[in-house]
Amino acid sequence: MTEAASEVVVDIRGLWTVFENDRGDQVVHRDLDLTIYRGEVLSLVGGSGTGKTVLLRQILGLEHPDKGVVSVLGAPPAELSAKGAARVGMLFQHGALFSAFSVLDNIAFPLRELKLLPRDLIRDAALVKLQMVGLGPEHAYKMPADLSGGMIKRVALARALIMDPPLLLLDEPTAGLDPESSDDFCNLLRRLHQDLGLTVVMVTHDLDTLFDLSTRIAVLADQRVIVSGEARDVIAYPHPFIHDYFLGGRGQRAMEALHEPRAPAPGL
């Protein structure tokens, strides 16, 4: 287990991100280092504007850091191609489903783009993924406009997982879901993490999700990762942001869940 856990999936070294605007440059990341290992569920936490989503986008190669190196599965992320879906799956905050396609076509899209596999195989594989995320086959021909928020997230997750990528990135996976759907979605993610052996990186503000799923929490503040580790270690770290974030009323309530006995986190 230790051997597998030490396998690096994402490696970020000396990353600088600078946003240029009229009133001068705004440094978002200053010499940021972060390493993500196989099988982890890493949560990125930080206040608004600390560049959590930007970091995800840099891991995906959608944005380029001003300085520093990002490597995903041993290669620079900009090399993602049509086969990128086989390496990294991304769940965008609002799903980013193609509104012109039906649910099934959305999920099957990365496979269809290979222009190799037979249609039946693609359809069956997409239907399997649809049901793996807890939606029945009767939803296959619905259009994204006809789906509820929770269903959009599930379909988007199915699309992200269609090629079984080893790395899954989630941007606010439970934002905009009611508590029950949010719990359902967490359970779904935990099950998929277990079944598929995924490495998950997520940005979340939802403390329940955070404590429920993460095997490691990385806190972004002061333009870098100030601390990363298990929930208990992170909370113990002396920093005003961590104090406000975790030890406020919200945090106290969510942390009660931590002290309740719970099945050990899978994979660790």
Binding site: K83, L127, M132, P137, D164, P266, G267
Partner: protein, 390 residues
């Protein structure tokens, strides 16, 4: 079961390893007992190599569910690979199979979730007929919508007249600038070129009859009365009509329209009316501007081909083209402007929250407004056939 253990090598193969013969997914038949042995990486990434995929489909031929299978040689099996095997077996387990725990888990997943595709529910012809009858004839629907739009506009203008200080004047001036001022260069260029083309064409014919000086009448009348307004309207319909539809359509997609309604801000008064007013004022001005550019182009071309001096042209123009033509052209253009704005707003409001509908709405908006402009122009030509001729 720890998650990392079942897939000891689930890192995708690097390009160097993909060509590796060990990695390519394939089946081999062991002769002694007819056991089919599967080897390599059965993953979607491996299948995305055309060469490997073709080799695999070839080697799969002649194997089937009735043979004994050995999957222990598969280095990596993902759900696509599992699906491929499962479908190859006709969605049933082979009578005899040897496989590891992790592969079994994947295949069991696939077995659990593979279903026949649900039937697409298409409405039958009776349903369609009922639907069509229910919605009424298309022309009547369009007529109703047009009436509603026009009525709302009249009410909004009434509101504006009663309380002009509360009108959306900032919006109005912004639209005036974007629709009017920024359209000046392109309309001038197009007008100028059309003037040149027309002058060259007619000069050829006129020279045959020795009627060179009539080029002033022909150019003046056709450009000021017809071509200028229509050309400007077509350009503005393509340029600003599409922009208005897209703007309002995106506001629909992002729920901004709903937000406005909740705040009690009426769409007609805040979105439609300023655009209609701006176009009603900008359109006649652009039309005159286009005509002027076309006349200048024609004048220069006439000077070059027929030796008609610029001063003669300018002196003859007012005599050839009575001022009534300018009034007619400007009022016609104002009507065009109102039409373009109303049609663009109408299609913008009708956009449904998806990308396809937005594209369709923009196309329909431009096509409809250009058609309407030409239709109304023909109507004007018939109605005012006796006006402002000499």
């Amino acid at each position: 079961m720890p998650p990392a253990a079942p897939r000891p090598e689930s890192l995708p193969a690097s390009p160097a390893r993909q060509g590796d013969t060990d990695a390519a997914p394939r089946v081999e038949r062991r002769d002694d007992q007819g056991v089919v042995t599967a080897l390599g990486r059965w993953t979607s990434l491996a299948f995305s190599q055309p060469r490997d995929w073709q080799a695999l489909t070839q080697s799969l031929e002649g194997t089937g569910v009735d043979q004994p299978w050995d999957l222990r040689g598969i280095a990596q099996l993902d759900h696509i690979g599992g699906q491929l095997l499962w479908n190859h077996w006709g969605q049933a387990w082979p009578a005899s199979i040897e496989l590891g725990e992790s592969h079994k888990a994947v295949l069991e997943h696939v077995q659990q979730f593979t279903t026949a595709a649900p039937p697409r529910i298409e409405p039958d012809w009776f349903e369609r007929l009922r639907h069509a009858l229910n919605r009424g004839p298309v022309l009547m629907r369009i007529g109703r919508d047009a009436l509603q739009l026009l009525g709302q506009l009249v009410i909004d203008i009434g509101t504006l007249i009663r309380a002009p200080h509360r009108g959306p004047w900032r919006d109005f001036s912004g639209h005036l600038y974007h629709i009017g001022a920024t359209a000046l260069p392109i309309t001038a260029l197009v007008g100028l070129l059309i003037g040149v083309v027309l002058a060259y064409l007619t000069s050829q014919q006129l020279r045959q009859y020795g009627a060179e000086t009539f080029i002033v009448n022909i150019l003046g009348l056709s450009l000021i009365r017809e071509l200028g307004p229509v050309l400007a309207a077509v350009l503005i319909a393509g340029r600003s009509g599409s922009a208005i539809t897209a703007q309002i359509g995106v506001m629909r997609v992002t729920e901004e329209l709903d937000a406005m309604r909740v705040m009690g801000i009426p769409h007609g008064y805040r979105l439609v009316m300023p655009r209609v007013l701006a176009l009603a004022i900008a359109m006649p001005l652009i039309s005159i501007w286009t005509s002027a550019a076309a006349i200048i182009g024609g004048m220069l071309a006439a000077n070059a081909t027929l030796d008609i001096s610029l001063s003669f042209f300018l002196q003859a123009l007012p005599r050839a083209v009575p001022f009534g033509n300018v009034v007619l052209a400007m009022s016609k253009s104002a009507v065009f402007g109102v039409l373009i704005a109303l049609i663009a707003c109408y299609f913008g409001m009708k956009v449904k929250p998806n990308t396809e509908s937005l594209g369709r709405g923009t196309t329909s908006s431009v096509v409809t407004s250009i058609t309407m402009v030409i239709l109304v122009d023909a109507l004007f030509a018939v109605l005012f056939r006796g006006v402002a001729f000499r």
